[in-house]
Structures are given as C-alpha cells and as structure tokens.
Amino acid sequence: MRKKRKNIPKSENFSVYLNKTRNDWLKIVSMLSFTLIPTFIVLDYIVMPDELFAKFMIFRLVVSGILIIQYIILRMSSRYASLHGLFITILAGTMIALMTNDLGGFDSGYYAGLNLVMMAVVILVPWGFAHGILNALTIIGIYAIVNVLNLHSFQIENLINNMYFLFSTALIAVSVSQIRLQLLRKEFDANIHLIIAKEEQDTIMNSVDEGLFIVQQEKEDEYVIGSQQSEAVTQILGTSSLAGKGFLEALSPYFPEKIITDLAEYLFMIFNRDVDNDLIRDLNPLEKLEADIPSELEIENKMLKFEFKPIRQMSGEKSYLISIKDVSKEVEMENRMLNNEIKAEHESQMMLAILQQGPAMLQDFVHGVETEISDIEKAISTDNNTEELSDAIETIFRAAHSMKGNAALLNLKFFAEQLDVFEEKIIELRDSDKLVREDLQTIESDLDIIKEVYTTLQGLIKNIQEFQGKKETETQETALESIPGALTELVGRISVELGKKVRLIAEKTDFTGLPASSAYIIRDILVQLTRNSITHGLEEPEARVKSGKDETGSITLNMQPDGDSFMIDYRDDGKSFDFAAIRKKGLESGKILESEVEQWNDTKLLKLIFDSGFSTAGESTMHAGRGVGMDIVKQRIKNMGGDFKIKYRQGEYTEFKITIPIKVLQEV
C-alpha cells in the first residue's frame, strides 16, 4: 500500500517517480542494445568486407559486454538515470560512428544505424526536451567528430543528406520524448488523486457509525456486495468482511425466512422496476427490525435499520448504497418514553377519578384496600397443610375481587385492571392440582405491583385532601351517605359497557346508628349485587321491549335500621336466574352428576350459585364471571352473623333481603 504519500511535497515525489520510470525504460533500452548489437554480427557476416568483419565483431562484443554490466548496475540502483542515458548514447553512438568511418566516412550509408540508436535512447525513455536534445546532439556530434578527425574524401551532398535525416529523426524522437514526459506527469497526478481519494474514503469508511456498502445486481436473483465497506458493518453484524458475498445470503443468518423472501422480492423490484425514491423508502422491508447477532458468547438482540439509496453508475447500471444503523438504544428510549406516557396517563386518569369522588368515599376506599392487602399478606404467610393452603387462596381471591369491585366503583380503571391481572394469577393457582406453599410466594411479586399502584393512589388522594383542606375526621360522617351516589355511577358505567340501559333508584337510605367504618362492608355487598344484576339478570333493551317491559331496567334499593338489625332491601326487575344455564354449568364443572340431574330442583341449583367458584357467565370480564360475586356476599353476611333471603320470579324480578345486626356493624 502506498500510504502517507500525501505528506511528501508533490514535486519531489514526482522526481522520484520519474527517475524510477526512466530507470525501468533504461533497463529495456540496455537489454535491447545488448541483444540487438551482437545480432547484427550475422548481418555483418553477409554484407561487410571480410577485413572489417573481425574488427566489427570485437566492437560489438566489447560494447555488449559493457552494456550488460550497465544493465546490472541499472538493476541495482535507479539513481543517475540521465548519466546512464548519456552513457548508452555515447557508447552505441561511438561504436556506429567508428563503423561508418571504417566504411567510408560521410559517404557511407551506415549512418542509418545512428537513427536506431536515437530512437531507442530518446524515444523509449521519457526524457523531455532538455535531455532528449542532449542525447540526440551527442549522437550527431560523435558522428561528425569521429569522421572529421579521420577524414575521408566525401561528397558534400552526402553529408547534407545524412545530416538532414539525422536531425529529422532527432526532432521526431525529442518531440515524442517530450510528449511522453507530459503524459507521465498527468498519469502521476491522476494516481496521486486516486490515492488521496482512497485515503479519504478509508477515513470516512472507518469512522462512520453506519454500516455502508454497495450492492449490485449480478444475475436475476443474485445481488452482490461491493468491495468497499465501512468498518461499522463488521461491528454491527459481528461478521468478517462481506465484500463479494451475496446480499441475501449474508443477511439470512440474522432474520427469519419470511423477511429474507420479502427482501428478495423487494430487491428484484428496486433493481428491475422503475421505482421512485418514495417507493424505495416506503416499501423497505428492513425498515426497523429485530436481528439476532451472534457475538462471542451469546446471541445478541439488536434493532437494525436499513436504508437503500439508489446510485446511478457511469456505466448506467443501477446499484444501491446500503446503510445499516444499530438503533437498539433509540428504540429502547422510545419504548421507555411510551411507558412513561402510559404511566402518566394512568395517573392522570386516577387523579381525575379521585377528583370526582367525595373525600369520604376515598377515605373509606383507602381503608378497605389496606384491610384487604393485609388479609392477603396474612394468607400468603400461612405455613400449614394443604387444606389451609386452599383456604388461603380463597381468602386472597375474595380480597382481590372485592378490591377490584371497589376500584371499579370509584372508576379507578388502572388499579382495577391490575387487580384483574392479579386475580387471573390466583385462578391459575386455584385450578392447579398440586398446590404447595412455594406457589403462594410466587404471587408476592404480583402483590408488590398492586401495592405500588396503591401507594401512588394513596399519595394522590392525600395530595387532593390536603389541597381541599379537609381533615379525615370531618369526612368520616358522609362515607355512608355517599353510597347511593357511587352506586348510581357504577351502574351507569357498567351498563354502557355492556350495552344495557339500567337505572338505580335508592328509595330509603337511613343509616341511623351506623358508624362510618361500616360503609365499606355495606358498599362491598351492594357492589357485588349490582354487578351481578347487570351482567346476568337485566336484559338488553331490545329483549326487554320484546317481553313487554320498559327498555330501561331498574334496581331498587332500600336501606334502613329495623330493630337491632340493619336491613338492606335490594331488587332488580331482570329475567332472574337462568336455571337451565346453571344446570348446564353444574354438569360441565362436575358439581352435578349426570345421574342425579333429575334431583336438582331450582332451590338446590340456587344454592350452587353461592358455592365458591361457580359462575354462569361464559367468559370472565372485568365485571363478572369470576364466580365469586355471590360467594362474597354470602361469606360477608355470614361472617357478621347476618342473614339473607332471596325472592324471585322467572322473567320478572329478583329480590334480596339482607339483615345484619347493628351491634356487629358498630364493632367493625
């Protein structure tokens, strides 16, 4: 590699180059001379007078011998080219001049041999004017001097003729030599430009972050990578040079087969069809793509971005500059920003939801969630036998479900969604055959997520309360009174989502004698009942109209103290229990045996609904179908020593009459 030439001054650089070239040519001249000169012995033998033949042969052999020695010197060193040139000129010129003298001086036609010497020495070597003229005149001078020193009689016309021819040859030879020198100069400049351009290109190729190379179409389905490529190519793709390899073959280890076939189609298009730059960009199949890059120890996953830029080459053939960028960091950043945005959106949604709630409700909600979370934690840390493990799971399940209901009640969508995910996890556990203690610990990390969201929520609530300047104690009073309003909102939301029309009518709401702390329990029961009514009981508007009902379903609510008990009277005018569906579900789940199906009357089936883990909804949704709603109601009421009665009429209504001892409520 001719590197670093750029630093040497150009002119000095050229003289080195010139000397080298002249030396190369001199070697050729020398070689020609020491082969041609002895060859002429054959001619001499035919045409020369016998007495001169031996003398001429000695001349020729001596000169050839000297020339061989010169040739060896020329090979060893490229210095003193012009002196070497002059030496050959003098040597060969003197020899032929002496021969013309022996053959009759200026009258001899043997001077023609000097033309040959002139051509060899002047034309073959790029001397330029000065040296060319010097060499040519030296030859003519020697001819003149030798023949004048040993003058034979001659005719002046012959001398004029000979000189005429010699000078003409000299003129032509010198001109050619000059032109050769100029061409050499141009050649040299062009080479220097190439070298500089190559160096600049190398610098660029080694310092850009993008992988760069050129791809050309060789045959119909063959696309070949060019000889030049930036260093980043090997860094990004973790391979050695791709130069000369097929583009498709070079990329196939990194991408799935489908991408490679798409790429083949795309390459065919951009090489063979008339496509504009927009199309080249828009249809690029490697726009932003995951690639598996094998590194030393493992396979690294990178996001790569390829770009195709068309280049028209001088030959008119199409080729493309391919740039490859590793955009893994950018993509990661984008994703992180997106996540932050989503998080911020969730927070602002929760904020909005909180702002719409009364402070009493919020306080109560925070209270409730704290209780449920501590219940879950207690259940997780249980360390007893299998039977108690499944009890623990049920407890966790109920707690999560209850929290979800309350979160939905307050329209805290994100929190409710997180709880839904949590619940899903627990269902998996509950359904697994062999439950071990360690399984419970696996949900701890999930609980941590719930707690994290809850902490955020708690912070938001606290901020708002401070902002609103309200103290906890002041808000306690209204927690119970806010129940009907919150339920109305919940009914509104769920019914819209399920495409139903429902209104809630709270007729009597008298909470006399009840502490604010009981609000959570009462609301919890009502939330489950309401969700259940809207999902299962109340029909779509069209169905209601068909069966002669008002298209809007209604839920009627009465709450008041009745002696030592608090009484909740809840009623919806939906189609009531679908016993056929319950029976079917019971059969499917194995709770009802095929053989005993006759014995399952409606009352018995009704009891089944209150069994934990039984639900008639087809798929579980956010609102119902997990099979815990009724179970929770039953459990909560039983736990407080309360009681509840169900009244229903198929197609008309369902009614729940719930009584809870006020004493118990006061102790909660």
Binding site: D262, E497, L498
Partner: protein, 147 residues
Amino acid sequence: MKEADLSVYSGGVDNYFKQFPDSKVVMKDHYPMEDKFVFLDYSAIIGISGSRKGGLYVTVPTAMIDDLITAMGVGPADDALRKDMIGEVANNIAGNAGEVFGGDFKISVPIVVTGEKHNIELPVAIPAMTIPVEWKGHTSFLVVGTE
C-alpha cells in the same frame, strides 16, 4: 385480541373518514361482545385469514350510509348503492390493516347484509371488540374479533 391490534383497525376508520375533511369521526371506548351482536340497517362482513383468524364487520344505519354516499359525491342513494358503499368501507378498514400486520393478513371480499335477520355465519372470533363510531351525528359500530 390485543389492544394494539384494535388500534390498527380504529386507525383504518380514521384513515377512511379523513377523506371528508368537513366532518369529524369520533370513536368511543370499545367493549367486548360475546353474543347478541349488534346489527343495524346495513352491515358488511369480512373474513380474515392468515396468522390472525377471524373477521370484522361494520354496521351502520341507513341515514349514515346515505350521508356517506352524498359525501362521496355519488347518488341518489338506493339499496344497491348502500350495499356497495358499506362494502367499500369495510374493505378499506380491513385492507388498510395490512400495512401493519403484513402480507400474512388476508381478507375476503365483503358480504353485505341488511337488517337484523339474516343467516350469515359470522367469521368473527370471540370475544370480539365493539368500537362505536360516530360521524355526522350517526352512530355505527365496528366489530372486530381475531384469534
């Protein structure tokens, strides 16, 4: 079906109505649907095959489809034009989704039905998502369900 998939279809709705700059299209919160699918006056159903199997349908009231036909500068509306129009709307929404889902996302020619009563077997995978689409004061629905 993923949430991200759903936004691709709603993007298709947006893209379609963008050609009428004078009126805005509004999509409400989507909700799941398992049975009792909603059918308004005109509905166009498209089957989807490939890696996402299922289908989608667009269902609109007559008044809305008439407004659409007028907005396209064609008319007067009759039954044939209405069927034609709703088919084209569904085709556009489904077709445009291919830009994100790629070549493996194949769609059928739309089948158009009128009213609620028909014997078409819905190709929609369950649970399907319903997106209410409001335009010029009319409410229509896009229902999508793929595996």
